[in-house]
């Protein structure tokens, strides 16, 4: 009836595990309590959970990402503190628990922090940047969100019922196979990743079709903002790389659940093929993570240098080059698995080549700043911090690209330092910059800049302290994922690294305070025009927050930096004579139901509760059939309602004719609203 689920699954065997479970349960209960206290169930369910609006879906994705950032950071803090003290002793974390922690840290940060963060920013902003009203497939968009949430749910519930995987975020067999890990941990990991992966593939399809088919009139491909270009290439990567993950994890699941022999030690298994399949996905994945961040940096650097982005064509071509090359380098993740020199050299050379287009981008960003009138708001600080720090990580990457060098450094903390050096200043700073840059657009008021600046300094100082010692340790021979060690010379570095982690914690606290203070002060920082930064692209043409339909009349694009061009031609804020009816997707609970059923399915398969798994699958199938038979999925917003919304917007605009950047010391002027009545 309950498969292999018994009372032993609850973590009463360890105080630390029990407190992890307690925090998870308390966290969930407090969210429920808060919504009840605010009497917000109606709003939460009928305006958000059932929404197909890309802007709301985007916000929910970012909320998931920020929550999981904290969850993944707790893992990091535990690892850093363990390693700081565990010289010649076991520290405070038993090995099995430590292994679960490094596994969940990587899994959460990649799949449930970075992917939702980029999906959220893309969801909210990209359709607005191309002058569209929504993504091409709003229903599928919501399904992607709820599938990602289902995967996150499986990782979270593994803290309460059962254990999580100890096989690392990459889950290599045969260790992750049934023979060495018969318990539920790896199964939780597999199904969380598989379910979220389906969501990501669907998002890739959605974004690609949106960009190719839903652009406003005149928005030629080579007039799109750079963020949209990076989204375009990212979505191609998502579509073509995630199938490899589905195959790798799917076959591993078949091995574990049905006793097959894809990756087993005996009976004809070939575990090296898993490594090959996993990294066929894994390498494009890191470009999926970084390219939207590069897009954010392009937008931020142009806006806060008050200058047109330098080298548009080269940036586009570099993005495309990165996209195609990302499929040709995957073996560099397993140089040491034993391939011959020919194979290793080919992939080593391709890896050094892929560094070149990113270098082109760095120069383009620097040249955008050159002779610009720089404004050092938090998104720009994160961008400059990225430019300095990411290059170091890139250099360590080019070092690792050489197979003989990699033989010495593979699986040491040098590698750990390298990829965090790419992900934190690259991916995370990019998304934090995007979060702060686009927050006013999404919510109608700005984030507090003092706390944003403080968060930046904590993050960058904390990053250097946490990870530079790891480069040194790697060169000194320290392997990654060590629960304890005997070499005294390593400890000072690990203590510095732990201090760095603590400073990052302060950075996260600053982000939290920033949000609280901003909400408290929101009336003073209202974005009345929709264009708080004197922006260049079309998302700044909508109100903040935008109307459900984004644009009442689809814009007619005539140039790169479409909105900047419209402002300078004097057509940015014109009210049309007539409005038209606008069709919008109806809300529906089916995507959330599918996500919930996917969660139940994953949980049931993990615990071998077969009847429940079948029931969940049947439920998903029926939901899809019901939706596929529904021909009335849209409602029409009548023109007079559109008029009401637009009139209110223009009334607000009249109260705030001056551009909000005017008081900023670095502001160079140039908004059409300056001086108008």
């Amino acid at each position: 009836m309950f498969g292999r689920l018994t009372i032993d699954a609850f973590p009463f065997y360890s105080a630390i595990a029990a407190s992890g479970a307690a925090i998870t349960v308390l966290g969930a209960l407090s969210v429920i309590a808060l919504i009840t206290y605010l009497r917000a169930w109606r709003v939460v369910l009928f305006d958000w959970v059932s929404s197909l609006d890309h802007k709301k879906i985007g916000i929910m994705y970012v909320m998931l990402a920020l929550v999981m950032l904290m969850r993944g950071f707790i893992d990091a803090a535990m690892m850093r503190s363990q390693q700081a003290i565990a010289l010649g002793n076991e520290g405070y974390l038993p090995a099995d628990h430590f292994d679960q922690i490094f596994t969940s840290h990587g899994t959460i940060m990649i799949f449930f922090m970075a992917m939702p963060f980029l999906s959220g920013l893309i969801n909210h902003i990209m359709p607005q940047q191309i002058g569209a009203r929504d993504v091409a497939f709003p229903f599928m968009n919501a399904v992607s969100l709820w599938l990602t949430a289902a995967g996150a749910g499986l990782v979270l519930i593994s803290l309460v019922i059962g254990k999580f995987s100890t096989a690392g975020w990459s889950g290599y067999p045969p260790y992750s196979g049934a023979e060495y890990n018969p318990g539920v941990g790896v199964d939780y990991w597999l199904w969380a990743v598989l379910i979220a992966g389906v969501g990501s593939t669907m998002s890739g399809i959605n974004f690609l079709v949106t960009i190719l088919k839903c652009r406003a009139p005149g928005m030629h491909l080579f007039r799109m903002p750079l963020f949209t270009w990076t989204v375009f290439v990212t979505s191609i990567l998502m579509i073509f790389a995630f199938p490899a993950l589905t195959v790798a994890c799917g076959l591993l699941a078949l091995d574990r659940t049905f006793g097959m022999h894809f990756f087993t030690n005996a009976m004809g298994g070939n575990m090296m093929h898993y490594v090959n399949l996993f990294w066929l996905w894994g390498h494009p994945e890191v470009y999926i993570l970084i390219l939207p961040a590069f897009g954010v940096f392009s937008e931020v650097v142009a806006t806060f240098s008050q200058k047109r982005l330098f080298g548009y064509i080269s940036l586009v071509l570099a993005t495309m080059a990165i996209g195609i090359l990302s499929f040709t380098v995957w073996l560099h993740h397993f140089f040491t698995m034993g391939s011959s020199a020919d194979v290793n050299s080919f992939f080593g050379i391709m890896t050094t080549i892929i560094a070149v287009p990113t270098g082109v981008k760095v120069f383009d960003w620097l040249l955008t700043m050159y002779r610009g009138r720089l404004i050092f708001k938090p998104p720009m600080l994160y961008t400059i911090g990225f430019l300095v720090t990411f290059v170091i990580g890139g250099l360590s990457g080019v070092l690792l690209a050489l197979p003989p060098v990699d033989y010495v450094m593979h699986n040491t903390t040098f590698l750990v330092a390298h990829f965090h050096n790419m992900i934190i200043p690259g991916v995370l700073f990019g998304y934090l910059a995007g979060y702060m840059f686009w927050f006013p657009k999404a919510f109608g008021f700005k984030l507090n800049e003092t706390w944003g600046t403080r968060s930046f300094w904590c993050w960058i100082v904390g990053f250097y302290l946490a990870f530079m010692p790891l480069y040194v340790l790697g060169l000194k021979g320290m392997p990654r994922r060590m629960e304890h060690y005997d070499i005294a010379a390593w400890q000072p570095h690990l203590i510095v690294a732990a201090i760095g982690a603590f400073i990052i914690l302060l950075g996260i606290i600053c982000l939290g305070i920033q949000l609280a203070v901003s909400i408290r002060d929101r009336e003073q920082t209202r974005d009345l025009t929709g264009d708080p930064w004197n922006g260049r692209s079309l998302e700044w043409a909508t109100s903040s927050p935008p109307a459900p339909y984004n644009f009442a009349i689809l814009p007619n694009v005539q140039s790169i930096d479409a909105f900047w061009d419209m402002k300078h031609r004097g057509v940015a804020y014109q009210q049309p004579d007539r409005y038209v009816d606008i069709a919008l997707p109806k809300n529906t609970f089916i995507p959330a139901f599918i996500g919930g059923a996917a969660f139940v399915f994953g949980f049931a398969v993990v615990w071998y509760i077969w009847w429940l798994a079948v029931l969940a699958l049947v439920g998903i199938t029926l939901a899809i059939i019901i939706r596929a038979s529904d021909d009335e999925t849209e409602f029409v917003l009548p023109a007079r309602e559109v008029q009401t919304i637009e009139d209110a917007r223009f009334a607000k605009l009249a109260k705030a004719p001056r551009n909000e950047m005017v008081d900023d010391p670095g502001f160079a002027g140039g908004s059409v609203l300056e001086g108008s009545t």
């Binding site: 190719l212 191609i236 073509f240 490899a244 070939n270 090296m272 093929h273 090959n276 399949l277 066929l280 499929f327 040709t328 995957w330 073996l331 698995m337 034993g338 391939s339 011959s340 020919d342 194979v343």
Partner: protein, 105 residues
């Protein structure tokens, strides 16, 4: 396949031609294997060529993919998928057979 996503093909002819060609391109490799008449390598080459030709027959006569009638983005997606399949499968085979050779795994 045209851009519309709605049915346009009014004649059964392409499907009948496609069926005929596909049957021939299926019968040849099956017959060769049944008869066991040619050396192994030659048979494999003929199987491969017949398969590729039959896939093209399916593209043309069942999916109505044409260089002029099919939208560019559909053709681009197909070409991109084909290139990536070549990299991923080709790369996998190169890597795994190289490893096999070095390790007899």
């Amino acid at each position: 396949m045209d851009a519309s996503g709605l049915p346009v093909e009014r004649s059964a002819r392409p499907y009948l031609i496609g069926l005929g060609l596909a049957l021939i391109l299926t019968a040849i490799p099956f017959a060769l294997v049944a008869a066991n008449a040619l050396p192994r390598f030659t048979t494999l080459v003929i199987i491969a060529v017949a398969a590729i030709l039959q896939i093209l027959v399916h593209f043309r006569f069942f999916l109505h993919i044409g260089l002029r009638s099919t939208p560019l983005e559909n053709l681009a997606a197909l070409a991109f998928a084909a290139i990536l399949i070549a990299f991923m499968v080709g790369g996998t085979l190169w890597i795994m057979f190289d490893l096999h050779h070095r390790m007899m795994v």
